[in-house]
Symmetry: C2
Subunit: 243 residues, 2 copies
């Protein structure tokens, strides 16, 4: 029998690396897709290569697409990356747990739509119907394109706008992490053999690649490791209380 195949969007972060490990554990042969979008934390792209290689994939495609041309985000302009504590001070409405109405400046306009569109194109070109993406609607930064209703709408659109729309086959967007806490994601990954020292989350690393420990992404990551009760294996610029 031919192996089940899937395209997995993989950035080298905790969520997408765990998602890739889940797809592998479900028996999929993985075509990993990384978008090098000119993010200020481009270290992400090198890390993606290491994290993905460690898990074993059929192919890893890196597509350059310079979203700095579009701008509109602290991650693709020279705007300062906000630290969670800045938010807490300046905007009392900001809540990590329920920030649906507080989209932070690190939101990149339509990023997941662009990434999923490219994953869809590659999947269609390879005759693959399954796509995995590590979106999460619990411990997330409040990005609208991480919500399940958005993913289902993308899936519906994908099935109308491709050959699937006329052939009767169907794309399925898998979102295995959607209702996990960050701790549950990390626990799952550890059980599947993910080496989180190879992952990278920080939006604002220093020149040595050390995480800042204070951006949304670091704060969520550290919350996850605290939840599991183990130290985060990556290096930080500041001293982190890990328990």
């Amino acid at each position: 029998m031919a192996a089940k195949k899937t395209v997995v969007l993989a950035s080298g972060g905790i969520d997408s690396t765990t998602t890739l490990a889940i797809a592998r554990s479900e028996g999929y042969e993985v075509y990993a897709l990384t978008i090098d979008y000119g993010q200020r934390h481009r270290r992400e792209v090198q890390m993606a290569r290491r994290a993905i290689d460690a898990l074993g994939v059929k192919k890893h495609l890196i597509i350059p697409l310079d979203l700095r041309l579009i701008g509109g985000s602290a991650l693709t302009t020279t705007e300062k990356v906000p630290k969670t504590s800045d938010y807490k001070l300046k905007n009392s409405k900001f809540k990590i747990q329920n920030s649906k109405l507080n989209i932070p400046p690190t939101y990149v306009p339509a990023r997941n739509t662009i990434f999923l569109a490219l994953a869809l194109a590659w999947a269609e070109s390879l005759n693959i119907n399954d796509i995995f993406i590590g979106v999460n609607a619990i411990d997330y930064s409040g990005y609208p394109d991480c919500r399940p209703e958005y993913i289902r709408a993308f899936e519906r659109m994908a099935n109308l706008g491709t050959k699937a729309g006329v052939s009767g086959s169907r794309f399925h967007i898998h979102i295995p992490l959607i209702s996990f806490t960050k701790g549950e994601i990390i626990k799952t990954g550890i059980a599947l053999g993910v080496d989180y020292s190879l992952t990278h989350s920080c939006y604002d690393p220093d020149k040595k690649g050390r995480a800042c420990g204070r951006c949304d992404s670091c704060v969520l990551r550290l919350k996850g490791f605290r939840e599991v009760g183990i130290p985060d294996p990556v290096e930080y610029q500041i001293k982190i209380k890990q328990d």
Copy 2:
């Protein structure tokens, strides 16, 4: 009052150039977006610049995105571009007028989804809610991503996956050409002052940029000019019967 603003996807072809002219005639200040996707007919990109400049826009952004990395189409690989007559001979089911079940090899996987995703990102970054795209479901090549039900599904997804999803503003994808014949498109453009000698449609031009006259795109274009009863002002490699 601030001018109404819109992002228009503009390739330099008949449909998107006419769409741009329609947006201008409706009073929009236009932000034109061209994707240089590694298409074999890249002359399209130079022509887009000329056609767009002639109509007057606020800004013209060209984003490079090499879809040859993804492949899956005669337009992004070294596969031969089919000529309509090849189809007629080899596949009796092929009909230009109703080819919904005969997606030709020039279909580029998820191209409009990728293009609309980038238009959406730019629009969101500029605080623009309107996007124009020149899709057409009458005289078209049978691409699934040119159908109105697909466009409405994209719109719905866009409104869930962006700030609009939480702010209450709404993206609207305008498809003014959707039910026009090619002749009606050309008539409309002429009335709005479009110079079609600056547009380009051929999938397989020669080194001098002359159109082949035999690919789907040329056949549809020529059908349009015949419908209007005027000669196509662009140069062809072969002698064309224009009446």
